[in-house]
Amino acid sequence: MRQRQTLSSRLWAAGIWLLVALFVLNLMAVIATVIVSSFATRWLGTWLPSGWTADWYASAWSEFQLADVLTTTFEVAFFVVLISGLVGAPAAYALARRDFPGKKLVMLLMLTPLLAPPITYGIPLATVLYSAGFAGKLSGVVMANLVPSVPFVVLVLIPFVEQIDPKIEAAARVFGAGTFRLFWHILMPLLAPGVLAALLLVLVRTLAMFELTFLTCGPTSQTLVVALYYAVFAAGVRPEQSINAMAVIFMLTSMVWLVIALRFVNPTQIVARARKARA
């Protein structure tokens, strides 16, 4: 409710905005530090580096084998997105349209992996994957990342399915559409925006998903975020600027997909856990 301000309410508002500004400023500065450092020849003891160069990118590329790492990252992301889409969309349809016995249990099964922190279920999961022989390979990483992604797709898609009037499907059947035609001509086009949104969000989340990949990957199946972690962890060994160059490359891959995703979804939905989209 907007209204004429008293002095104290103006001060309060100013204080709040100052707080927000400080937060955003610091956030931007943290990101800027990484970028600036990646282009610095030397940066010790001064506000800005003494010189600028782009050489660190080339050296980071070869040192950290980024070509391989990026390939692995996108392979992982590709399979996670593909499988969670193929498996999650029909599940969302079933949960939105039918009230079958055990539905509550299934919904709980969809909710829990999103609420539980990855480390808590990641360690037992890693144990199982190691004994089954999948850990340390691409397959293990993909499997681990499916655990939060499938429920995410399901929960994002359920409101989209609910928004389609069931009478449209009934009408299609009355006019002679079999199940496949119903799916291809009616459901897919209507659900496409929702599915696209969900898959883009899964992609963005998987790129940043650290713990699960960390616990289940091997030296040849690291995603970029895990490789970055190891680089930072061994920070004494490699030059700071090189690590930051790698960090910038990571930022770019995430941002590209984030920007694309934001054309289709509201920023809040990236955070969306177990809540229905507001109609």
Partner: protein, 358 residues
């Protein structure tokens, strides 16, 4: 009745305007309201009536003009300082408080003593006839009951002014009629000055002492229900008040109160607000109920029947006049589609509005 309305004698709107960018939501609304009056702000959606009410309540700022309560200027006060009671369209009952605490909220905000709050709340509950529901939450009440809680909450604080924003629009037809009677009864016992926003002319006619018709952000006419019903001041207001038939015509004769209008071959007597120049073109309007089939004479309008609908106590029919205008009229008996009828206007019930610029 122990509850009284607070004392003042006059509320004055002086050229209240509200515009943002190129949009003018309100243009110089000027209005004086006397204590105890029931005023209806009537108009179609977007006419500015709710905006006017919200500005009066302090929920929206005016961009021009001022509001005075007797000698006090009030449009610079915040809503919590104005002390008016307001009933919202969707009731806005606090969902986490029961009926008693909802009603007593305004008194609690004013730090009234607990015993006093209890007493006045009980009186208000009795006034709106909600005894027995005091401890229920709003979600447990029906629409009509929620409506009554909203009214009680607004009047218990004994405000100088009660503001109502289309309070009945979410109720079904039967409940609306009942609640209209309730509102009339409460107004009669309390005598509180009330400003009531509605788009329903029947509601305005039945409740108000005076009606303010608004269109396009401005005031078009202020008058008693009778004034507005029989003597709308302009073509727009007439159409809004239910004068459904419009015919183009030309003024042949005119004195102060009556004009003889030629429509096609017919000559009709019509009322008007001011003398009209001979030869002036304009629009003749009349109500559906005032137009019916009759033997042909110099004043009847010829029409070919296009449809008819049985209404129980007669028929409402439509027809096309000689120059193609659509007419609605009533008939006690069935008329056949395609039949030619001669329609007579009830004397004194037609009105003539000269074209703009007259």
């Amino acid at each position: 009745m122990a509850m009284r309305a607070a004392a003042f004698s006059e509320l004055r709107f002086d050229r209240i305007s509200r515009s943002f960018g190129p949009i003018e939501a309100l243009r110089e609304v000027t209005l004086t309201i006397r204590k105890g009056e029931f005023i209806a702000l009537l108009g179609p959606s977007g006419c500015g009536k709710s905006t006017t009410l919200n500005i009066l309540a302090g929920l929206l700022p005016a961009t021009g003009g001022g509001i005075w309560l007797d000698e006090r200027r009030i449009d610079t006060l915040r809503p919590e300082e104005r002390g008016f009671g307001m009933v919202f369209q969707n009731y806005a009952l606090f969902p986490h408080l029961n009926v008693r605490r909802n009603i007593g909220f305004g008194l609690a905000m004013r730090n009234v003593a607990r015993g006093e709050i209890a007493r006045r709340t009980q009186e208000a509950i009795a006034l709106v006839r909600l005894e027995g529901h005091e401890d229920k939450l709003p979600a447990q009440l029906s629409g009509g009951q929620q409506q009554r809680v909203a009214i009680a909450r607004a009047i218990v604080i004994e405000p100088p002014l009660v503001l109502m924003d289309e309070p009945l629009s979410n109720l079904d037809a039967k409940l609306r009629l009942e609640m209209r009677a309730e509102i009339r009864r409460i107004h009669a016992s309390l005598g509180a000055t009330t400003i009531y926003v509605t788009h329903d002319q029947e509601e305005a006619l039945s409740l108000a002492d005076r009606i303010v018709v608004m269109q396009g952000g401005g005031v078009r006419q202020i008058g008693t229900p009778d004034d507005l019903y029989a003597r709308p001041a302009s073509l727009d207001v007439a159409e809004f008040m239910g004068f459904r038939n419009r015919l183009s015509g030309e003024a042949i004769e005119s004195n102060g109160s009556e004009t003889m209008v030629r429509v096609g071959a017919a000559h009709l007597r019509a009322a008007g607000a001011a003398p009209v120049a001979i030869g002036m073109r304009g629009t003749l309007v009349m109500r559906t109920a005032d137009l019916s089939p009759a033997p042909q004479d110099a004043s009847t309008i010829q029409a070919r029947v296009t449809a008819g609908e049985f209404r129980g106590d007669g028929f409402v029919c439509s027809g096309a006049s000689e120059d193609g205008a659509e007419l609605w009229f009533t008939s006690p008996t069935r008329v056949a589609i395609g039949e030619t009828v001669h329609l007579r206007v009830e004397p004194g019930r037609a009105r003539f509005y000269p074209e703009a610029g007259a």
